[in-house]
Point group: C2
Chain length 389, copies 2
């Protein structure tokens, strides 16, 4: 049984930041409405809705976000499903919209992702984000996410000689990219000294090494390829969309400098798309922390193991470099409204492939997005392409 | 594009009730392990896992239940996805496992559902369950779920003359069925007077009109039909599995005695299976409250509108009657660990079709399950059959 090819015909992202007075489902509706309008598709044609959301229940007391959003949009009596895989929830929603169309279950599917976090206290936020950890095995140790990635930083430094300066160059690049992205929450012009001197969060990680909590939503409309192009915007091919799992507990990881879920998702995605990492023109990856960009880019096979820090410091991952990473500003600068992030990455990649990105990569024809959840417990990797590529 | 037929080759349910010292993911693992063993399938063959869960985050602080469960089971690096649609989460997980196999994405898919509730205070539980309401439109009114179904009771009584005695006959039947189901949390021999005199919850609903909060899990293994029958247990055909949405806000309902999502799901399921309601041998439906069984059974077209109460009082929905409903005891007696309920219904239906149910329906060949969420915001209806039917 073969699946049919699918395309993206509309994308949208709200600005990321504080949307204090906007109810969570209304944020989702704003992104969805804009994506539908761009696609030039009648709402009655949408046959399935997937909602990426992680901690809507814990932080806003609101579940059933898939149905609520469909209701507000006036969609038909279609299946509406919230999917959750921690910080990979948005990428999982995208994959399911692709599957719904690829399998012929429907002609048009809508993926939306949303989160609302900035109103919460640090204690509530930490507790909610920790729901992605095993509550029996890991949470009681007092581990937090900065703690986990702080350990990854130390190990990577010990093994490969990765330096503070290299890691800071990731922050400088992404925060700088964010400055020219109008949807980004926290773009900034930073220097290495400011980063090193910022507040310690989980040594060696400092404040500027960590992505901010955010409110925001993003949406993507997926259609059968034969009907792509009904709207004014250029459609984009989905060449691969893969979802994997990895160890759910720290003790299940052989190595804290690599995530199995990313390695296996990337391998399958390259195979599905019939490409090699060297064919990529740009990557949007899950830089929840500065060091994560280095770990992820090595897991994705973008450079040899241990070279991620060097590539960053040498400017090879800047726009204009060998392989631009997170031209959007990434999670570090655009922000990380958890359930929305995976779809925000798709939005940024589609904008690149259309040649309309504020930090445009020249001749961008083939891009990869990477969304990672929890202790690498869930991962989604997609490969998107210009139709002529 | 056509989907291929799928079958169920293994099912399991934990007892429902209090599992105070068992972590939530461990409950899921127990059900999953038993379903896999029954199917006689190698774990390495499972290609996708769907987890039905509603309020794991809010009541236990544990999300990523799909990945955690897969990890504990030692599954491969497969996609593992939690799906949420309030009380219909389990049914939605089942449908997605069916889709994964039907579309050819994988050969074997596992659907698991779990919830853990009995440890929570009434206040915490009420707040968590209210996450299925629109937090802007309905929750501020002070509405609760017994309140909603209490209104449905009043309206149904005013319109069709439905009586307390008729509604109590649903409770007597389901609590009685639960007495002989070893997995049921709250079977009981009740009379109409005891029910009428029990504590008022949301007038006219009394304590015994309401399902209990529960801890529990259920699991179902779905396989391509051509490879069903590898285990010792009789495989069961999935003839239809449909998911719909309905109004997410009270004001969106034309009528509180009927749920659009059920009506449309049932219509599509009958069409998919090529049957009429009169062909069914039994039904497991979403009796979160006694009156819900009457509303649901009319929405499913099992009897003419307004006749649900009469059918119950006349014994037509008992085992041995025209169309046995909730021979398992239903949510009222088996219990309602929210995310598990839809899969528990599949478990009970499969057991009936195998002729192995503690309350066996004679010659059961064709059954329907119905799982409803929130204000009818999400619904799942499945039709299962003996292979020879």
């Amino acid at each position: 049984m073969t699946m049919r090819p699918v395309s993206i015909s509309g994308v949208a992202s709200t600005p990321f930041g504080a949307h204090t007075d906007v109810p969570i489902h209304e944020l989702a509706v704003r992104a969805a409405r804009a994506a539908i309008e761009e696609a030039g598709i009648d709402r009655g044609e949408i046959g399935s809705l997937y909602m990426g959301n992680f901690i809507g229940g814990m932080l806003t007391g609101q579940e059933v976000l898939a149905g609520l959003t469909a209701d507000a949009l006036g969609l038909a009596n279609i299946p509406c499903t919230k999917v959750e895989g921690a910080c990979a929830s948005g990428g999982i929603a995208f994959r399911h919209a692709c599957l719904a169309v690829a399998s012929g279950e429907c002609e048009v599917a809508l993926a939306v992702g949303v989160e609302k976090m900035t109103h919460a206290s640090t204690a509530d936020m930490t507790a909610a984000l920790n729901a992605a950890m095993d509550q029996c095995a890991d949470a009681p140790s007092g581990l937090t996410w900065p703690g986990l990635f702080g350990m990854g930083f130390r190990l990577h430094a010990a093994r490969y000689g990765t330096t503070r300066e290299q890691v800071s160059s990731v922050v400088i690049k992404n925060k700088g990219n964010g400055l020219s992205n109008p949807l980004a929450q926290m773009g900034a012009e930073l220097d290495a000294e400011t980063i090193s001197n910022s507040k310690p969060i989980a040594d060696p990680l400092r404040l500027f090494d960590c992505c901010p909590p955010s409110d925001g939503a993003a949406a993507v409309l997926v259609v059968a390829r034969e009907r792509a192009g009904s709207g004014d915007a250029m459609p984009v091919d989905v060449r691969a969309s893969v979802q994997t799992r990895g160890a759910a507990r720290l003790a299940g990881h052989a190595d804290l400098t690599s995530f199995d879920a990313t390695v296996s998702a990337a391998r399958r995605a390259y195979e599905q798309a019939g490409i090699a990492p060297s064919d990529l023109d740009f990557v949007e990856l899950h830089d929840c922390f500065s060091i994560a960009e280095i770990l992820d880019s090595e897991d994705l096979g973008l450079m040899p193991r241990g070279h991620g820090g060097g590539w960053a410091l040498e400017g090879r991952t800047r726009v204009g470099g060998d392989l631009p990473i997170n031209a959007s500003g990434g999670l570090l600068a655009k922000g990380h409204p958890v359930g929305a992030t995976g779809l925000s990455q798709i939005y940024e990649a589609v904008t690149q492939l259309r040649g309309e990105h504020p930090n445009q990569v020249k001749n961008a024809a083939l891009g990869l997005t990477h969304n990672l959840g929890g202790t690498g417990v869930a991962c989604s990797v997609s490969i998107l392409a210009r139709p002529d590529a």
